[in-house]
Subunit: 309 residues, 2 copies
């Protein structure tokens, strides 16, 4: 294809007009009439924005290939225990933004009521955590293990209710899938000192009352992993890698929309500058000392209000 | 972060204003003062375009994760023999666009003269092909193998010169790295019937004259691979998967810029609608019958003019 010759005066326009002005339309026009309807909506916007980005910054072939190699490396690192590409999207704010969009679509549909806000899933979710009755512990490390010794001062009782956002009644059959890093900021898959699925569980709430409870730990702030392209990108951007202390949840119940969310320790110093932009005011919690329970030193409560499906 | 409440009247604006108008600025502002200078230029544009795309199409969390999974799959498929993420970029026109941008930067710097146009590298390049004297064959299959029997009618003599674009003099010490699919459209790494590195070689041009010659095959049009996310995306977009018949080159010589390019069979029916948008008029060639050479039925000539480094 021929290069277009002319540049106009404006600096903003120059980047777009010094290159073939018909190229993007040509790529968009290649899409056929039988394309998936949603892709017909998505692709023109994706192509225009990707191409405009490349033209705006005069992206070279060498830079494109550096980006391709970064993506390939993230893909190769991603398994059912870790999603490095997901983490890249988190760092770029894309998962938080998609979460805002999905939430807005839900509230526009009128079905969210006063539902608990969602936030990002993050890169450390694992499916099929142990399914447990309410009141169980998700600390699977042996009590005398080195990990348990360091974790002892941080053992925590987490409890609350799962209710319907529209009626306030218990959401019958609710399951709280919860996972968290430990007090040193490590998830079990990052730490040889923790047994498989440590600090992960799917806890059944009480049918009649919607109450759930689980013994876990008080998590700490942590640095997102530095061993892949996500951590490298943060370094190159001179960005800090911290996430404020948080617990992750996917809360489900028959007849309700699944809720993916997190609660954040409101006393954490990074609660206002989460490196993946996931904190919402409604998700801040206070950890309080717990008395009279030799299984936990801390207590925290949080109620989940689910939207009807 | 709070959702912004108001939408203005314009349909185009609505997508941007119904979401938190400060979110993208907040993500951009996280970049620190010591960020890599080029990333300081690139990231604001990348973030604005990615976020605007997500808002324009109301990208949901489920859709973002479908995209992440597609990228992870492409990354896992990509090896030193094949670059599926590169192919995705090709299908989206990104490599062709980056090639246009790099070419324009080169011609703006005044050093390109009447150089041979570049085009995309593609996903099938392999480093370290055999280094050979001019006049060698890059057909490594045994002459009596089934592959050689079917390839026999397509054996081709390729030749030309490597010269300086500014002086027209031979580019001393030039090496022509050439690779191609066979007459059935398969690269050696896609075809158990071809030996390792078949139809790949790095051929030294003559020092004094710049002439190079190589025995190879006349390639055919082919479908890009359908076994990964790239092929699946083409199907979902109702796009044809064909590339016109072509030969790939990376031409190097001391004191000159490396040239990545392809030549295309001008008689191929897909020469005007290459699925990766890589064809340029200056790169069209004519395959002619070859007489009096029992090593080749076809002949094709192409001269490479290199820019000084």
């Amino acid at each position: 294809m021929a290069l277009s010759g002319k540049e106009d005066g404006g600096a903003d326009r120059a980047a777009k007009t010094k290159y073939d002005p018909e190229f993007t339309d040509k790529v968009i026009a290649a899409t056929g009439p039988k394309a998936l309807p949603r892709l017909k909506e998505i692709m023109p916007s994706l192509l225009r924005h990707l191409h405009d980005f490349a033209r705006d910054v005069d992206l070279t072939v060498a830079e494109l290939f550096a980006g391709i190699e970064l993506i390939n490396e993230a893909g190769r690192m991603s398994t059912d225990k870790r999603n490095e590409t997901g983490m890249l999207c988190d760092i770029l704010g894309l998962e938080s933004l998609a979460d805002e969009i999905s939430s807005k679509l839900l509230s526009d549909s009128g079905s969210s009521g006063t539902a608990t806000p969602s936030t990002v899933l993050g890169p450390f979710y694992r499916a099929n955590a142990p399914l447990l009755p309410s009141g169980s512990s998700i600390v699977y490390a042996a009590p005398d293990s080195p990990w348990s010794v360091q974790a002892a001062p941080w053992l925590t009782h987490l409890s609350g209710r799962v209710v319907s956002a529209s009626t306030g009644e218990p959401a019958a059959g609710a399951v709280v899938d919860v996972w968290m890093a430990d007090a040193r900021g490590l998830y079990e898959q990052q730490d040889a000192g923790q047994p498989e699925m440590n600090l992960r569980g799917r806890v059944r709430a009480d049918e009649a009352t919607g109450r759930y409870a689980v013994y876990c730990v008080r998590p700490s702030a942590y640095q997102v992993p530095r061993d892949g392209p996500g951590g490298r990108l943060l370094e190159l951007l001179d960005r800090h890698p911290y996430r404020p202390a948080h617990m992750h949840f996917v809360v489900t119940a028959p007849g309700f929309r699944a809720l993916t969310t997190q609660v954040f320790d409101r006393d954490d110093e990074h609660v206002r500058d989460d490196t993946v932009f996931a904190v919402k005011d409604e998700l801040l919690v206070k950890f309080e000392p717990r008395e009279g329970d030799d299984r936990a030193r801390w207590t925290v409560e949080y109620d989940f209000a689910l939207s009807e499906a």
